[in-house]
């Protein structure tokens, strides 16, 4: 610890802040807690004075309140809040201080009992309520004020529409290491394949992802979603899931808008360091199938050592290989790596560091936050089983099956650097920068009898490495003009990459019972190499102007704004198959690494050929979205508020698919849509609120879905065909929700929703006389209805003994049906639930927070009802993902001021992942229990 501390204070802190009086070292799991370290600006009279800083927000809306007079009672010291509601008072005499806050339209508030130690700084945030007819001043204690601020900042309570959120505080108490795990705790949200978000059972097509309010591009080649596991929870302030549309949101919002908010800078300088260590019971320290390592993998830069050989890089490369030496050279230029190795599974670990605060720079007070996190994980798929069905005697039976093991070694790291400053008291400028990078190195080895190989036993080996990165920079300005006008603007740029370099797929067969697994001569389907590379960049500019028509808190408000967003994507997918003309029989049982070590690929050897697997594989796309909106917020009396308006949005999508012969396919769409929305909020009493909302939104096809050629999916390898005739989907949504907020931190709500989809895009299976493929069609219509229940309740009201315990749960019940329609008639059921939609989603948990020792414990449960994983083709029933019951436990134990121990146990009952199709299990595996421990040290 001594070493750590010296290292930190000399290197890292100097680098970030120049000087540091105090350092907090915190060791725990991936979640970073901000720990405040004290700092004094003036050494001379450090013992006598201190500094108080904070923000003033509206108790109803959570919005900043500008122009609030702040005064230290009993002195002449004071200041005014700025555009963001923040204030700082330097040189406040030490001792117990009382602050008074005043502004026209608000009830004045006095906060007592603020204990200021000489030479230190502290943060005091305050909420203010609109003045009623009688101008009653309010006096509260500093401690009590904290609760009301929290309540005001609760996005769920203060949003215009229906929002569910998970906050940094909740994440800190859970074992959730990234945003994908954390967002599962939100009502109605499920996460598929560990990264893509389904809200209310609607697929990634109907969810958009923003970072601090601006759209993130998608790094996925075939679907449009942002893998949320790329955001370490240490960077997160909150994840807000908006479920109803208002015109100031993007129009392709249809199911939900996920907004990832990165952490805000603290009012005072704070430094954090964290680390953790743990393991998976089935992987760590055990001998497992794992991918051979390549350099650069530890930081997610392994693609550099898996390059696409230059001789194969262009679409026409293979066609230009005319001589045997050229063909052999091309084969030799591929890395000679085909098989997983038996390796010892690694532990899981994470590290984190962040520095933040507010300090003067060129005469301006600048808020800053810099944060870095790193984690490495070892995942496993134990008892990995897959099967394909055949219809016999009227029921599906197993036709062929494989069992084995898979593993995945992942690294994820990210950082952010946010700056913010009040240029004048009316103008705040902030700059947010975020970068995350992740890499997964997967290996899989399974064996079983294969129908397509004449019922021979085959062994399949796959090595796969996927690397993703997301960068985002946002420059934001906020201005107040007089007392009734606000203007803000944001210029942002973001980019993603996804590289899947050099995947290898190898199939060896047993030529006779008891024989070794061997190379299948002349078979074009036994040795594949795949290179995928995708980048997508966007930039956008948006601005909002808000005018209060009268003064006062309940003034009618008009908002207008506009957005322009430009997105460009380039994707390349090259696939090669190596096929032999004749490998000597005696050599066929050699491992692939020996067959391709040059013994058969030198000079004029005529043993192997390399062929293109598909003629196409390169496409690019552009999208330009221009939008403007007008909306009003009209209060009627003190209890009703009507929000109404419309958004006009034009989107132009252009997709260009290149074929290997140098020709192109162009496709795209150009739509202008008017999207109205109306929301009525009714305050039924002091703690109750009723929201009603109706809106029209849309969902556009994913770029590649518009490309009218067959291609092999990068993910899954399925033959897929786009459809240039796709049109965008229009969605009408109706929501009603009643919420009670009995006490701070408590909520009880019930809501219902109805969504009607006009021409939803569905993925449809098509048969041919040979290879089946999937395509995309506009189905006739779909409906999605459901009920959401949420409760969060402390047990203190029942008995004092139970006071440290709080319970919470959310339950979503839903139903959907899709009419595929004759136009898109397929081999799937014509009438069924939408893919991915579960009939129920349950989250529940209990927290215990000990008053004496500060011990906190959180027990979490989540489960998702059986949901369609893929639609079955006639005569097979649909493939369902069976419910998996997840139980996680987290403990936090502070030891004095400086230490906190931490323990996280995940997946405690290790319920298997299972896909079923009628009586046939199509896929199943276990992920194993995870345990991590950490320690926190604080000075």
């Amino acid at each position: 610890m001594r070493v750590s501390r010296r290292f930190l204070s000399t290197v890292l802190l100097r680098a970030f802040v120049g000087s540091a009086r105090a350092v907090t070292i915190y060791a725990g799991a991936a979640v970073l807690m901000t720990v405040v370290a004290s700092h004094s600006a003036a050494a001379q009279d450090a013992a006598q004075v201190g500094r108080i800083a904070g923000r003033v927000i509206d108790a109803e809306s959570g919005q900043a309140v500008t122009g609030v007079g702040v005064q230290v009672v009993g002195t002449t010291i004071g200041t005014m809040t700025g555009v963001d509601g923040s204030y700082t008072i330097a040189r406040v005499p030490a001792g117990t201080v009382t602050l008074q806050f005043r502004r026209i339209g608000y009830a004045a508030k006095t906060v007592t009992g603020i204990v200021l130690v000489g030479g230190s700084a502290l943060e005091q945030n305050v909420s203010m309520s609109a003045a009623n007819l009688e101008l009653t001043a309010v006096t509260v204690s500093a401690a009590a004020e904290r609760g009301t601020v929290n309540a005001a900042l609760d996005a769920q309570r203060t949003a215009s529409g229906i929002v569910n959120a998970v906050t940094a505080e909740q994440i800190a108490k859970s074992p959730d290491g990234d945003a994908a795990k954390a967002i599962q705790r939100v009502s109605g949200v499920t996460v598929q394949d560990g990264r893509s978000v389904f809200v209310r059972g609607l697929g990634e097509r109907y969810t958009v992802t923003n970072l601090n309010g601006t759209r993130l591009p998608s790094p996925e080649p075939e679907k449009r979603f942002v893998p949320l596991d790329m955001f370490p929870s240490g960077l997160l302030q909150a994840i807000n899931v908006s479920k109803t549309f208002t015109p100031d949101l993007s129009g392709d919002f249809s199911g939900a808008s996920v907004d990832i908010q990165t952490r805000e800078f603290p009012a005072r300088r704070a430094v954090t360091f964290s680390a953790s260590l743990g393991g998976n019971e089935l992987a760590t320290g055990r001998s497992i199938q794992a991918a051979p390592r390549a350099s650069g993998e530890w930081f997610g830069f392994g693609s550099g050592s898996r390059p696409l050989p230059s001789g194969l890089s262009s679409a026409s490369s293979v066609g230009q290989l005319t001589t045997r030496p050229q063909i052999n050279g091309a084969i030799n230029s591929l890395r000679n790596s085909w098989s997983p190795l038996q390796q010892t599974g690694l532990p899981n670990g994470s590290l984190g560091l962040s520095v933040g605060g507010q300090d003067p720079l060129f005469g301006l007070r600048v808020g800053y936050l810099a944060s870095l996190t790193y984690s490495a994980t070892q995942d496993i798929r134990e008892d990995d089983y897959q099967a394909n069905p055949v219809q016999r005697d009227g029921v599906p039976q197993v036709l062929e099956s494989w069992t084995g093991q898979g593993s995945s070694r992942g690294v994820s790291w990210g950082g952010m650097f946010n700056l913010s400053s009040l240029i004048t008291s009316n103008t705040r400028i902030s700059l947010n920068n975020t970068y995350t990078r992740s890499a997964d190195s997967d290996a899989r080895r399974t064996a079983g009898e294969s129908f397509t190989f004449s019922l021979a036993t085959i062994e399949r080996q796959t090595l796969r490495y996927v690397e993703r990165a997301i960068r985002s920079s946002q420059l934001k300005g906020e201005h107040t003009i007089g007392t009734r006008q606000n203007l803000d603007w944001t210029a942002s740029t973001a980019g993603v990459i996804r590289k899947e370099p050099d995947r290898s797929d190898l199939v060896y067969a047993q030529f006779g019972t008891g024989q070794p697994f061997s190379w299948s001569d002349g078979n074009p389907d036994v040795a594949r190499r795949t290179f995928g590379d995708l980048r997508e960049d966007n930039w956008s500019f948006s601005s909002n102007y808000k005018l209060a028509l009268t003064s006062g808190v309940d003034a009618p408000v008009v908002k207008i704004g506009g957005t322009f967003r430009s997105t460009e994507r380039d994707a390349v997918n090259r696939q090669f198959s190596i096929v032999s003309t004749f490998v000597p029989t005696a050599d066929r049982s050699r491992p692939a690494e020996e067959l391709f070590d040059g013994r058969f690929t030198s000079g004029d050897d005529n043993v192997f050929n390399i062929i293109n697997v598909a003629e196409d594989g390169v496409y690019n796309a552009t999208e330009r979205v221009t939008a403007g909106y007008l909306m009003t917020e009209l209060p009627f009396g003190s209890r009703f508020k009507l929000i109404a308006g419309a958004r006009v949005e034009n989107a132009v999508i252009d997709v260009n698919t290149s074929l290997s012969n140098g020709n192109f396919f162009n496709s795209g769409l150009d739509n202008l849509d008017v999207l109205p929305a109306i929301v009525l909020n009714v305050k039924t009493n002091d703690v109750g609120q009723l929201r009603l909302s109706a809106s029209q939104t849309l969902a556009r096809p994913e770029y590649r879905e518009l490309s009218p050629v067959q291609y092999l999916e990068v993910v899954g390898g399925q033959i897929t065909r786009g459809n240039a005739d796709l049109v965008r989907t229009l969605i009408q949504s109706f929501d009603v929700k009643y919420e009670l907020f009995p006490n701070a931190g408590e909520v009880l709500s019930i809501g219902a929703f109805v969504k009607r989809f006009d021409k939803p895009i569905e993925r449809i299976d098509l048969s041919t006389g040979g290879q089946p493929f999937v395509s995309f069609f506009n189905a006739a219509a779909a409906n999605n209805i459901g009920v959401e229940l949420e409760a969060r309740k402390g047990l203190g009201g029942i008995s004092e003994f139970l006071e440290p315990i709080a319970l919470f749960s959310n339950v979503t019940l839903m139903r959907s049906d899709i009419e595929v329609g004759s136009d898109a008639s397929s081999n799937t059921n014509g009438n069924r639930p939408m893919m991915g939609q579960a009939p129920w989603v349950v989250n529940a948990g209990a927290t215990y927070t000990g008053r004496a020792n500060g011990l906190s414990a959180t027990l979490l449960y989540s489960a998702v009802g059986e949901r369609i994983y893929s639609a079955g083709t006639i005569p097979f029933p649909d493939v369902y993902e069976q419910p998996r019951h997840l139980i996680d436990l987290s403990l936090r134990l502070p030891m004095g001021d400086r230490w906190t121990w931490r323990m996280d146990a995940r997946n405690l009952i290790d319920s298997p992942f299972q896909l079923t199709q009628g009586p046939v299990t199509r896929e199943s595996y276990r992920l194993g229990r995870n345990l991590a421990v950490g320690v926190q040290w604080r000075q």
């Binding site: 026409s316 490369s317 293979v318 066609g319 230009q320 290989l321 005319t322 063909i327 394909n388 055949v390 219809q391 016999r392 009227g394 129908f451 190989f453 004449s454 019922l455 021979a456 067969a509 030529f511 006779g512 299948s520 001569d521 002349g522 078979n523 074009p524 389907d525 198959s577 003309t581 062929i611 293109n612 697997v613 598909a614 003629e615 074929l659 290997s660 012969n661 020709n663 192109f664 009218p708 050629v709 067959q710 092999l712 033959i719 065909r721 299976d765 098509l766 048969s767 041919t768 006389g769 040979g770 290879q771 089946p772 493929f773 008639s825 079955g872 083709t873 006639i874 005569p875 097979f876």
Partner: protein, 584 residues
Amino acid sequence: MSYSLTRRLLKVSALASLLAVAACGDDDDDIIAPPPAALTAPTGVAGTSPSPTSIRVTWTAVAGATSYEVERVTGATGGTFAPAGTATATELVVTGLSPETDYRFRVRALRNAEQGPFSTEATVRSASRTTVQVSADITTNTNWTADNIYQLTRIISVANGATLTIAPGTRIIGAPITAGQAPAVTALIVLRGARINAVGTAAAPIIMTSAAADGQRFPGDWGGLIIVGNAASNRTGRTVVEGPAPADTISWNGGTNDADNSGDYRYVRVEFAGAAAILNVELNSFSMYAVGRGTRMEFLQAIRGLDDMFEWFGGTVDSRNLVSYESGDDHFDAAEGHRGRHQFLIALQTGPRVQPRPGNPGALSSEQSGFEVDGCGATSGSCAQGFNSTPYNMPVFANFTVVGPGAGILPARPNGDGGLGANIRRGTGGVWMNGVLARWPEAAFSIFDPETNTRITEDSLNIRNLVLADNARDYDAAGATNRFGTADKFANNGMRSTTAATNTLFVNVPAATVSIANNFAFDWRPATGSILATGGTGATLPGRIGTRVTNYFGGTMAGTTYVGAIDPASTAQWYAGWTTYYRN
């Protein structure tokens, strides 16, 4: 030679009798007119080619001639002259010629029965054909003539109920996949309700081939001929044509008219077809999707296709006289409820294998067979009752000669060398009779899946009077899982087996080790004493087979006493003249 000698003898005898009549009948007139001057040879013989299939021959008049006789021979040298026609004027338009070909002509004068000497020979080349780029679908009735070469620039549909009539000798080409236009694959596809009437002749077959030059062509250079009819199949749901866009938007299941007519196809050769835009998604040389019995298909050849040569998906169309040389996959594939009858089939597979063009996503199959016949082929859905989907797949194959490459050519398979004479699977029924499966390196027969075995026990799958010659084994590997072909099942079906070398069975078919030369003249007749000459069913077809072969080409499919595609007693072979063999 014998022809012109006979002619001369006839002429001489006619002259003699004329003189005799003159001598006997004209007693009163003693004055005999002086003989006219002898006819001279015509001079100035020349020709022009007004069209690629015709040449106008002209010459200078000969004194005293009443008419002229023109003879021609193909080629700049050699050959034997044969009459091309007679003319009273000094010109003759010779038609029915091959384009871009040298012809030699000679002319002599005639005076009644008197013949003058021949002129000197004149060599004339027939005109080149114009290459017509076909880039639009054919939606109205259209004629394609032998004067043009039709180059497909993409997948061209004959749609909207239109009929495309293709004259004998017409050549249709598709660009090689690596040099074509988007989409890279070219093909000709007849949609449901439309027709192609492609009636060639043995002398002038219709040829559909790669656009690449002779010797530069590869399997899979272009797509092939696809016909989509309106007969029934056993698939449900949305089932479309396999292949790249826009073929993959065309549904072929759900047909209702087993008597549907998609046109007339005779003397048609499809070469170097089977293009793939994605590995394992290949077109076939002849793809027949739900084609109905009203369609006429005779004298068809596929050569060097990358995928199957003749594939029937459902439907009822009959055919006869099919030739398949050198497949990249299977020679005859019938599945998805096909109920057509097919007689007189020749298939040959040899080595070395010809790989597709470098850069082409296609590949030779790892499972090549003579026949691959599936009841309902989909394992991933759309067969409503799985392998028992109805209507059952019930093709009839009679009088086939299906010869494999022998050992060491095809990819090895888990049970030994690959290459099955007949791979009968997935619940198919049908009839195989009076045929020979020879030289297959894995086995002559494989009967796979319990459902297919059920077809035997319920008498829906009849295999009889076959010769299994020179195969690694006659039936499936003994004891292999899920295989049901065993000799005892067919013990009373007139099955015969021989180890005689395949080349000894026929008059002129090379041995397995021989790399066959271009334009090789096969003689598929049974050699003297060949086991194939006898042992057929005879005219009376046993059991239920007779009822399955009625209404076949206006009569009933005849049972034969011989086995294989060629009657040993035949003098002219049905494949002669219009079929061909080459490597590239």
